[in-house]
Symmetry: C2
Subunit: 546 residues, 2 copies
Amino acid sequence: MKIALAQLNYHIGNFEQNEEKIIKAIARAKQEQADVIVFAELAIGGYPAKDLLRNAVFLDQCQQSLSQIATHCDTIDCIIGAPIRNAYEEGKQLSNAAIVITKGQITDCRKKSLLPDYDVFDEYRYFEPNHNIQCIELQGKKIALTICEDLWDNDHDNSYKGDLMLELAQEKPDLIINIAASPFSYIHFDKRISVLSNNVLKANAPLIYVNQIGAHLDIIFDGRSLAMNKSAEVIKELNAFDEDLQYVTLEHGDLQTTAVPQPAKLGEIASIHQALLLGLKDYFAKSGFKKAVLGLSGGLDSAIVAALAVEALGAENVLAVLMPSVYSTTHSIKDAMDLVDNTGCQHLVLPIKEIAQSFEDTLQEAFVGLKADTTEENIQARTRGTLLMAISNKLGHILLNTSNKSEAAVGYGTLYGDMAGSLSVIGDVYKTQAYKLASYINREKEIIPINTIVKPPSAELRPDQKDSDSLPDYEMLDAILYQLIELEKSGSEVVKLGFDEQLVQRITKLVNNAEFKRFQAPPILRVSPKAFGSGRQMPLVAKFSY
Amino acid sequence: MKIALAQLNYHIGNFEQNEEKIIKAIARAKQEQADVIVFAELAIGGYPAKDLLRNAVFLDQCQQSLSQIATHCDTIDCIIGAPIRNAYEEGKQLSNAAIVITKGQITDCRKKSLLPDYDVFDEYRYFEPNHNIQCIELQGKKIALTICEDLWDNDHDNSYKGDLMLELAQEKPDLIINIAASPFSYIHFDKRISVLSNNVLKANAPLIYVNQIGAHLDIIFDGRSLAMNKSAEVIKELNAFDEDLQYVTLEHGDLQTTAVPQPAKLGEIASIHQALLLGLKDYFAKSGFKKAVLGLSGGLDSAIVAALAVEALGAENVLAVLMPSVYSTTHSIKDAMDLVDNTGCQHLVLPIKEIAQSFEDTLQEAFVGLKADTTEENIQARTRGTLLMAISNKLGHILLNTSNKSEAAVGYGTLYGDMAGSLSVIGDVYKTQAYKLASYINREKEIIPINTIVKPPSAELRPDQKDSDSLPDYEMLDAILYQLIELEKSGSEVVKLGFDEQLVQRITKLVNNAEFKRFQAPPILRVSPKAFGSGRQMPLVAKFSY
């Protein structure tokens, strides 16, 4: 039995384009004489379609798309993910299903048993879990057909369901197939391999795993679909962050493949780099825009975002705007211009001195007798935000936000100012990771000016300001934030690890106080196991300060 | 058996204050010789505590709070909602429980079986559903102890669980107790009465229902706890939108009460008015702020928000800022000043002409050869947003957003401009409802100037602009939006109802295109069955246009 693994990039709700891709993959697999082709979870409709799954017309279109695809499966069988309406009267009306198509007809399906409902996942909102656990029969083979989370029952905080693979293993399956929509994080790949291996060994059966690739706002699918033999060796691995179509054969009781070069293992920073590029590309491609605008300060964060945008969209589609104030240093302007020269992107210079002054004049009477404070710094940041949005409105460029995760965590940013934008490119990248990312971007030649990397970080909103005036050293800050955010520890638990108590208290307070700002932040490309956004939901008017 | 219904306003994570309230209610009930006191769902910790429920210290504090409260229950038994850690090894580690305290000890509990996971609810994220359905015994009585959603199994799109009350009814309970955290919407009360009645008749047992009151950002609990006799008659109803403590007696096989005047039934607009006042009061009280600032245009929406803020916070705590532009009409300034006079609130006048001009001067070269369009209108709106935020930053006032639901739906508003603010007060009130609300606010004397109500709505961002230049008549717009948003219909389904096809298409397109703006909007006080915010989650880069 020759099996095609089809790893595609789906666009939520773009039925025409998705269908065309799927049908093209089927045609290629038929040419290669494959017996079965396997697509990812919710290939039909896209993932996450969110409340579109409550829309009758959307669900009808999923059904039509499935019927249309089935007509192409005459000489090949097909397994593909789709939302399907349940026949039973009680419970949620929808299931997340793996559809089985044989001889041009939908002949069977398996519904997802374990519905993830942690971090960015929210599947109980839409789907009824499966209540019957059973293998399918396909071309005389017994297949343990499962969907993504179904294999993770021992590894996540899921609602109780027993051990799915142990139950399926009693039927002695010839093959496990897992179709997935499994988002990238820089630690997820190793964990995934270990979970899949455990299932292979438990069932004593080889496994085919087909993931999506592509980005949908915050969630980025990395692909890396694979085949594992009975000994839990990866015998085939598909592209990371790119579409792919590959074949394996089930014979002599195990999966076989012709030797092909396996993709090189990606390191943490290299994988983040690729994920962010895909996130940028897909945001523009899927929302129908071409051009980006961003504020370029001469500092590290905006330089990284500009370099990534140029790589993803092309230098001709990226407009960097320099908005010097009276506090901007000459080296900042030079560093920003060096970046413009290095990348070849478009640029504009719009000094903000006069606008900021006219704000202060207008407010003079209202603020009489009050000292200058962060208000005046915020006015500068919001002047820049307004200029960038004016360019976005007039020229149709999408504004990219350039905040990093360390700033977002402690609220070191101005709402409607430097926190503005349609997409936060590096909002899930800590400052210490940003330095590594900058070096990686410069791995072949200097793109990000060295002076941008080596100078002390500064917001330049008052004379001689440095980040270190208001914030602890980034190495220390990020180490504490990682414990609080990624590992979800309480402040008191972090102190027990040996961190300074006063510092931890100060940082937890900053993190809590910034919840209201993050509530209105742009969507963030997620590359870590715990990004700000829907994956971390905090009450805003709570008193608790852990 | 004399039973106290304790309806309190809890603050998420404010253990000290919540405990004090609970203990005070217990002391009063003991004085009145009550045998049992019943508190709401998740009275311990507060609702919705969101990801604080994943924090070990938060859960420890819930446990400590419960132990502390138990020591006061020597001569009275107590039923109270709390999150508890599960002993079993599989499944989610937490349950949403009704704790039973007898003789100062925690002696029993019942966990929530039906976990809501629609609209604003997300309980599968945190809780394991109950797997054992059984009554409790208390003082010789058999009690069907349930939590909120447990009684709604036939009425919502829940995951399958059978019919809970039918199972419990087999034990022939003497009483049903339902503890709840059931959010207000202007249609919810009648539905709630009907659901509770059905359960009473099904079990042939009287019912005690204890709800929370209080607002937590978007969610507002209306209270209106009640007792129903076996014939499903409401024999006691507690305050709407206010704390209360009342008693009923279980004797002769039914609930009895001394005749007390029942609260008057609240109409749609009156209940929205009370809900918004509570939402405002609690936002400030629970976040520790006193003073509010808002932009006052002379139009209807900002006038309503100013009037509500004055009623909720006091005239001395509300600062209205008039920010006339070159396009502002003299009647707008007069209308705004009339509102200031009628309410006695503070005010400031900050003309924006010079700031807007300095933005245009700075951008002149970049925009050379390009026509004026909405960019220049947005600059005015963002100038106002920046001025208001400067006042908020300098004086510590919270910025109230004044957008209505019709505008939010079609994107008739400027991100970071008039969409700025920490709390959207009337973002769940359609324009047609806003007119009714204004009349209601004026029911005794003119607070909102009549001219503000009768003049045609205008954003006044260009000469002689009217809302009707860009938008259909609000009666028609709101009728279509209600079908699309509240009833979640597809455009094609709305057309079948007789609405004009081109108009429905235009509106659905506007609604879809504004998703990215609403993603960054402030939290909205929820008063309808479907508000923008967490209750309605749409993908931003999807292609589907229903």
